[in-house]
Amino acid sequence: MNSRGAGTRSFRSRVVALVAAGSLALGVVAVSGAAAGAGTPGSPGTPARVAGAAAPKPGGSVTYGLEAETGGGWCPTTARLAISGIEVGAAIYDTLVVPNSKGEIVPYLAKSVEHDPTYQTWTITLRDGVKFHDGTPVDAAAVKLNIDAYKSSTLVGAALKDIDTVDVTAPNVVTVKTKVPWVAFAWFLYLDGRFLIVAPAQLANPDTCNSNLIGSGPFKLDHWTVNQELVANKNPDYWQKDAKGQKLPYLDSITFKPVAEAVQRVNGLQGGSLDIIHTSDGQQVDALLQKKSSFNEMYEQPGRREVRYYLMNEAKPPLDDFNARKAVALAIDRQQINQIRNDGVFTVADGPFDSSVTGYVKNPGYPKTNVPEAKKLADAYKAAHGGTFSVVLEHTNDPANVAEAQLIKEQLSKAGIDSTLKQDDQTAFIAAAVGGNFSIMLWRNHPGGDPDVNYQWWQTGSLLNFGKFADPELQTLLDQGRSELDPAKRKAIYQQVDKRFASQLYNVWAYYDAWMVAGKKTVNGFMGPALPDGGGQPLFIYGRHPLLGIYVTK
């Protein structure tokens, strides 16, 4: 019966070793491990941030937590960039122009952007000696290639429709002629940071164009593992220097990591795995504001914030009906949403423009919440349309957005409007908007540059007019605003635009989304140096900020 034979010595030691190894596994591994991660935030004695405390020293690297991966890549002909893609763009590429803190658009990669008195001929003069990462020059030919590429893209091209011709008139000069007087054309060479100037080599091969990132920016692409990380290393030949003559950028490398959930980005920052993050989530912004002493924070002030809104599809029932849209608009209680979703830190919006934008109207006539009235309209709609009034609330898969959608669903149900929730990752979300296959989308857009920059989002028949509304009166206003030379008249036109949105209810404006960039105490220089050639200070808008000025201290 001695089935269980005596163990051998070697087996015993193996077992002992197994258990010993098991319990010591972590210790053994730790001993052979390298040094630990960064220091803990909020350690006692951390001094309050003093402006310009430490002089920037070159070196170091940061990990940047972005809100999404840019699955579609960065090819001008196909890119669909949201803020995450735009921020990576700010590392690897330059734009011809940038907005400054006064709300003006000033030259950046370009040396100058000038127009004739009719605003129909634009002369872009480039700087000498600026090169792409592959050594080819940033010359007029390259820029023309870029403009042509963007013009040909289905999405960005919609914004550039009024460009007539693009010519190389000198090795460093591009002349653009527009079809109509285009007062704010220079803004369209920026497009919220999407108009990245890429090297001809990147454009040359359509198969690799979206992942073979070659720009003129402060950092060069090292590698991109989709959904994991994008690493960019210092461009030693970058064309900008800081005020003391030190070459920019300071950092040796940046690692971009997509972290979809805002709370996870904040956790990563607190835990130390992320050095710098961005977020426009109200609750997380509130949480970060309360932890101000532990981090370096840059919080967008009111004036040019983008707006969170519920984009309605006017091409499909039920929202092709004005009264149906009105029912939805009256049923949604934006104060409640702002309170619950954002801990009240943001401001309710009544139109697409924030307070510093030309065309902003304090009370444009957007209706106040009125649930009984909403119910009446909804009932009337149902009576005329077979008894159902249902919408789909589409949103990205951050649980905070899921919660916001549920809140809206509950509010709509009080007016008798049924809704179902649909969740997408960001790439599919954008695709749904473009494809027009949606009912209501929880969207975010219209950062406060020149109001004309919104033209293609609202133009009748534009691919970017996701809601597909066709409003001749609005279209006339948009066309007038584009070409109106008199600033006072222009302002009045855009004020009409604001009021038109309030009366036609194409979108339900919810609240202004303010961006916050937060980093460890050792990470500084979020906005970087002054713009070249006396352009002023860069503007923190739409969450985008330059990366060339970031430096780390000990």
């Binding site: 709370v263 649980p399 959608a405 549920q406 179902t420 929730l421 009912s439």
Partner: protein, 327 residues
């Protein structure tokens, strides 16, 4: 004295030259010799009665949910959003368990959530009980090639880890969220998915038990007397197999409750605004720092319910195994 139930299983498996089924091993690991004897003497004990009490409470609340004076689980009260237990917003009734992410009453959502969660878990295990039980009975009784086919089927269902199988089935079967095209109602898809996953679990225990019971003399005797197979299975074998099935079924409900939680975090449970314990955790997890109660209240519900179900499942098993040993 060797541990009877465990040795029986191991021995059986060894005799048949097959490895021991991990599912049955885990269960039998719970019931050890000394504990079996203790149960026989003391009956259920405090833990047992507490478990029965808890299950009764939870089931009772779930059943009575529509008639209880609860807030509407979808009703939003701004002031209590993410405020902890005993949050009173100056309204007539306090909110005993606080407000959830959007300001809905937690107590109400816990009870309604329990209702949906329990319905989903119970119905899916029921599917496993019926279909898996049927397969197990047939395979264990007839043996031979029938058993080979049944075993193969169960093995295939077990080849993909349960959560992943359930996730894949839910994703494929349900109406794509936000559309009206094809597919099932999300709750139905979930029940079916978890049901399919429960089939092999119930199937295996039924089969193992049937194999053992079919060899008994009274079964052979019944066959010798000319009883048809169906009669023998239903009259002689099934009643003896049922206790094991009940035990596993209770444990299976516990597992299904946890599986619903896992699927909810992956966004594959019922519609997100319909409360289930899993859905509540899935949304609440992004405010762990300032409103941990949103996660931990449903988490505790899951914990205690699973604990109680585990205990009762083991208790049934122990009771009936004791009887078996006495033969």
């Amino acid at each position: 004295m060797p541990d009877e139930p465990l040795q029986q299983f191991v021995g059986q498996a060894v005799d048949e030259g097959r490895p021991v089924d991990p599912g049955t091993i885990e269960i039998s690991a719970v019931t050890t010799g000394p504990e079996v004897r203790r149960l026989r003497k003391k009956g259920l004990g405090i833990a047992g009665w507490l478990s029965i009490g808890w299950i009764t409470l939870v089931v009772g609340l779930a059943v009575l949910a529509p008639v209880l004076p609860l807030d509407d689980p979808k009703d939003v009260t701004t002031a209590i959003a993410r405020r902890g237990p005993f949050a009173d917003a100056g309204t007539a009734s306090g909110h005993l368990l606080g407000g959830d992410f959007n300001g809905r009453d937690m107590l109400s959502r816990l009870i309604w959530g329990g209702r949906t969660t329990l319905v989903v878990a119970t119905l899916s295990v029921l599917i496993g009980f019926v279909l898996g039980g049927l397969l197990g009975l047939i395979g264990g009784y007839f043996r031979g090639w029938v058993d080979t086919v049944v075993s193969l089927l169960l093995d295939v269902l077990l080849a993909v880890p349960a959560v992943i199988l359930a996730l894949a089935l839910v994703t494929i079967l349900r109406t794509q969220p936000g559309t009206t095209s094809g597919g099932l109602d999300p709750e139905l898809a979930l029940i079916l998915a978890l049901g399919v996953v429960s089939i092999p679990v119930l199937g295996r225990i039924t089969r193992a038990s049937t194999l053992s019971w079919s060899e008994r003399e009274f079964v052979t005797a019944a066959r010798a007397q000319g009883a048809k197979h169906r009669r023998v299975i239903v009259r002689e074998v099934l009643p003896n197999v049922l206790p094991a099935m009940y035990s596993i079924a209770l444990l299976g409900i516990a597992v299904a409750i946890v599986a619903e939680g896992t699927l909810a975090i992956l966004g594959a449970s019922v519609e997100p605004d319909t409360p289930t314990w899993g859905n509540m955790i899935a949304i609440g997890r992004i405010q762990l720092e300032r409103a941990p109660h949103i996660v931990f209240e449903p988490a505790l519900m899951i914990f205690f319910t699973v604990l109680a179900l585990n205990f009762l499942g083991d208790a049934i098993r122990a009771l009936f195994d004791v009887r078996e040993g006495a033969l």
